[in-house]
Symmetry: C2
Subunit: 186 residues, 2 copies
């Protein structure tokens, strides 16, 4: 079976030599790739990891109102694309600083969610806010706020994957046991 | 602080328009990226996920002798780059078929290892071989074999990350409890 290429990223020209690419199945492969028409360089596309954290202070949850697209004006946890040469945990700490100007501690891996349709993998820690008085919007956030559980703006959450993970977190917290989970959202 | 770009992947020309790229820090960013000199398109580079499985049949471990570079002729577990639009588990099943012509079941997430230097994240399941008589080398393997613990070719293992994960697996199996672990190898 040949797997067809379907991607949102444009690969019209070759990174190596600047010539036009074509879509084809390389020898020995079973799926379509972008292949350079001149030098034959194959440009692979792979899923991207998003690193983030569900951050608490006592019973409260830290959320950021997004200042950028996609989903500007909606709420989420600090999370973003993992950079080359950092660990998932380092990425999660960096995103918390960039988006919420906050430090975190006591980090535990909590949730991996495959978003297969868009080629993303969310890897979410649970963590404790360093200091309940030290957080503020970074350049990608409009507001950063600690929410009591009853005040969480469920209808204004930016991403379903975060809504699902946060819901599971609150259920498990109420039950008194946290478990690591791997899920797929199509 | 500006994070310097250091990458093995060549991005000399723009994927969008085919013009020359330059290395620079985009406005609002804090790290160097490949930026198109003509259209301004920023080409991000992110870590890649490698999905694989430690596969057992009773006390035995399934290993493949690699037929391809890097580390051709050395032993490893079935593992490879995750493709777009598949879950980590699906990727691990696919790699087991491609490299060992085997099916697996009873999969549990076992080990995440950040290889920060080379920008890879190994995500390894532990799993049970479907049928001890149904495995064979796929095109990327020379030999596929079930090893007793005492016969594992430790000195001829292809990758340190796999050697470390497999060592932990055997220790935990001997102790009677498996735990999920997240580590970083620099």
């Amino acid at each position: 079976m040949i797997h067809k290429l379907h991607t949102g990223l444009p690969v019209k020209f070759c990174n190596l030599c600047g010539s036009r690419t074509r879509i084809g199945v390389p020898e020995g492969d079973d799926r379509e790739r972008h292949i350079c028409q001149t030098c034959g360089y194959i440009q692979y596309q792979n899923p991207k990891v998003v690193a983030g954290s569900i951050i608490t202070h006592e019973e409260q949850i830290l959320l950021c109102k997004r200042a950028i697209e996609p989903r500007s004006g909606y709420w989420t946890i600090p999370a973003g694309f993992l950079e080359n040469h950092e660990s998932i945990q380092q990425g999660s700490i960096r995103e918390t600083w960039e988006e919420a100007r906050a430090g975190i501690t006591d980090m535990h891996l909590y949730q991996i969610t495959n978003l297969t349709r868009i080629g993303q993998i969310y890897i979410i820690y649970r963590a404790i806010l360093d200091d309940p008085f030290t957080f503020a919007p970074g350049p990608e956030s409009l507001v950063v706020e600690l929410f009591d559980e009853v005040s969480i703006p469920w209808d204004d959450m930016a991403f379903r994957v975060i809504k699902t993970s946060l819901g599971r977190f609150l259920e498990e917290r109420a039950a008194g046991t946290f478990t690591m989970s791997v899920d797929t959202l199509e």
